[in-house]
């Protein structure tokens, strides 16, 4: 028997974070991610030097993370859609200050309060920065509890490596669902001490700030960030392909939707339909190249999202007019079964054959 434990997604994030050396967590309760906040409350105080704070608001929580990160702690906050909207001020500040932090969004139905069911309506918010100003956050989209654990650990390393906020974009279902997990070994932290504020000692004092009043200097800061983002786009794209080899129709889906898509594809393959899947694991940077390359030999794509259609824009941008893209979306907290999705795929597949 392996060291696998059967654990819910929200707990897996918490455990992976602590194992990765997260020593500061602040959060505010919101369904469907309360189990993560509770896990941190119970376990962070046990971790040596660990701090847990139930903050008065999402805004306070992310700003506590800002402070903790500047002081050298691996820091994390988590929430679900409406709470993530509140955190955008702090995420923008983290990006501007070039401070590492991990932000977890277990998405629920929206807009507004919406509901507490699994949804994928926050794709635009996550991949376009989300707050004000010219910036990006790395966005990781796990599709299983194991991947939630693995990507949480990676998120801390990526945040340090690029001194940038990293978002884990899950949903209510990946958070609540239990699957066996084996936790990976954390890597030793590599983060230059010079970025940590801990008092000037006898030396020169430092400051970290986002305010740059001079236009030319602000512009230079913007371009500096963009140069960093280009490096991230070069190095950090992740995706999975599934049965794309002889496929005539490609489904593109991320997160839990990709799991449902795999179920649908397996059914269709059993009846001889050549359907495959491209699953973006990083939503920003978006795996545009593999989609573009795939379009060299396959010209039919179906984007499936638990939203009214957001990632489809990135797919179209990646294709630059090549191929034909259709869409199947289930917003509002509806989780279609593989059979339901398969019906939508069959309709599209008939057009392929026609």
């Amino acid at each position: 028997m392996s060291d696998k434990i059967l654990i819910a997604g929200n707990w897996a994030i918490g455990e992976a974070a602590i194992r990765a050396g997260c020593r500061f967590y602040a959060g505010y309760p919101i369904t469907p991610q309360n189990e993560l906040t509770e896990y941190m409350a119970e376990n962070m105080r046990r971790a040596q030097g660990g701090t847990f704070i139930q903050a008065e608001s999402e805004i306070a929580a992310v700003n506590m993370v800002l402070g903790a990160s500047s002081a050298g702690a691996r820091a994390m906050t988590s929430s679900s859609s409406p709470g993530i909207s509140l955190k955008q001020e702090g995420i923008s500040a983290l990006a501007a200050d070039e401070l590492p932090a991990v932000i977890v969004n277990m998405m629920r139905g929206g807009p507004g309060l919406g509901n507490i069911l699994p949804s994928q309506g926050d794709y635009f918010q996550a991949t376009r920065g989300g707050g004000h100003g010219d910036y990006r956050t790395l966005v990781l989209a796990p599709a299983s509890v194991q991947e939630l654990a693995d990507l949480t650990m990676d998120a801390f390393d990526l945040a340090d490596k690029y001194r940038n906020p990293v978002m884990i974009l899950g949903d209510g279902m990946t958070g609540q669902m239990m699957e066996p997990v084996e936790f990976g070994k954390p890597r030793p932290r590599r983060y230059n001490e010079k970025y940590i504020l801990k008092g000037a000692g006898d030396g020169k004092s430092k400051f970290v700030r986002a305010l740059i009043l001079d236009a030319l200097r602000m512009e230079e800061h913007n371009w500096k960030l963009v140069r960093k983002y280009r490096v991230i786009e070069q190095n950090e794209v992740r995706f999975e392909t599934y049965k794309t080899g002889n496929a005539r129709l490609i489904i593109i889906a991320y997160g839990i939707a990709a799991r449902i898509a795999k179920g649908a594809i397996n059914r269709l393959r059993d009846s001889g339909m050549k359907v495959g899947l491209i699953r973006p694991i990083t939503l920003w940077p978006f795996p545009a190249q593999i989609i573009r390359d795939t379009a060299e030999r396959i010209d039919r794509f179906l984007v499936f999202e638990m939203s009214t259609g957001q990632m489809i824009d990135d797919v179209k941008l990646a294709l630059e007019g090549r191929g034909h893209v259709s869409f199947y979306g289930r917003p509002g907290g509806v989780v279609p079964t593989p059979a339901e999705l398969a019906k939508a795929i069959i309709q599209e597949y008939r057009r392929v054959l026609a």
Binding site: G172, G263, V335, P338
Partner: protein
């Protein structure tokens, strides 16, 4: 092989624990598993359900289009799920309180009077484990040993007495069905 089971009943009947204990037992036996609970508003006093998928290969979707088995503890859950079960599947039905019977001839139906059996054991709270005894026996996905090991890890080592009554409940359910 990929088998999906829905466990459903009232909140408080231990429905989520049934699914979790089974999923963990399947994991002990080396299967791929997913456990998907209903959550939020609907579990506050209302009905509760969870879906457990067990497979010898990676599980594509944790969401079930057509579950193979339904373990059903109350009337409303039977109404909700009876048409969704795959042909050739099976129902494990708490006959102590479920008055209706599914109008389907393409599934097996196993009736378990969990309340009466638990009453004989002197503990009405172990009805869910009685049901699991019957379920484990007839589905043959996990061994009784794996299931009891899973149960033990859930109850914790401190509660020896609790484990004992649950073991009896499991055996009673297991032996009830021939």
């Amino acid at each position: 092989m990929q088998i999906k089971t829905v466990f459903a009943g009232f909140g408080g009947q231990g429905v989520l624990m049934m699914g979790y204990s089974f999923a963990q037992a399947a994991m002990f036996e080396g299967f791929h598993v997913t456990y998907l609970p209903s959550y939020g508003v609907e579990v506050r006093g209302g009905t509760a359900n969870c879906t457990v998928a067990v497979s010898n290969e990676e599980i594509a979707s944790p969401v079930a289009s057509q579950p193979d088995y339904l373990v059903v503890m109350n009337n409303p859950s039977l109404l909700t799920f009876q048409t969704r079960i795959a042909p050739g599947g099976a129902f494990f039905l708490n006959s102590s309180i479920i008055t209706g019977r599914p109008k389907r001839s393409d599934v097996d139906i196993w009736e378990v009077p969990t309340a009466e059996i638990a009453a004989e054991l002197g503990n009405p709270r172990v009805q869910n484990v009685v049901m699991m005894g019957a379920y484990v026996k007839m589905t043959r996905m996990v061994s009784p040993e794996s299931y009891l090991k899973s149960l033990k890890s859930i109850l914790g080592s401190k509660k020896k007495a609790a484990m004992e009554i649950n073991r009896k409940a499991f055996e009673a359910g297991f032996n009830h069905i021939e």
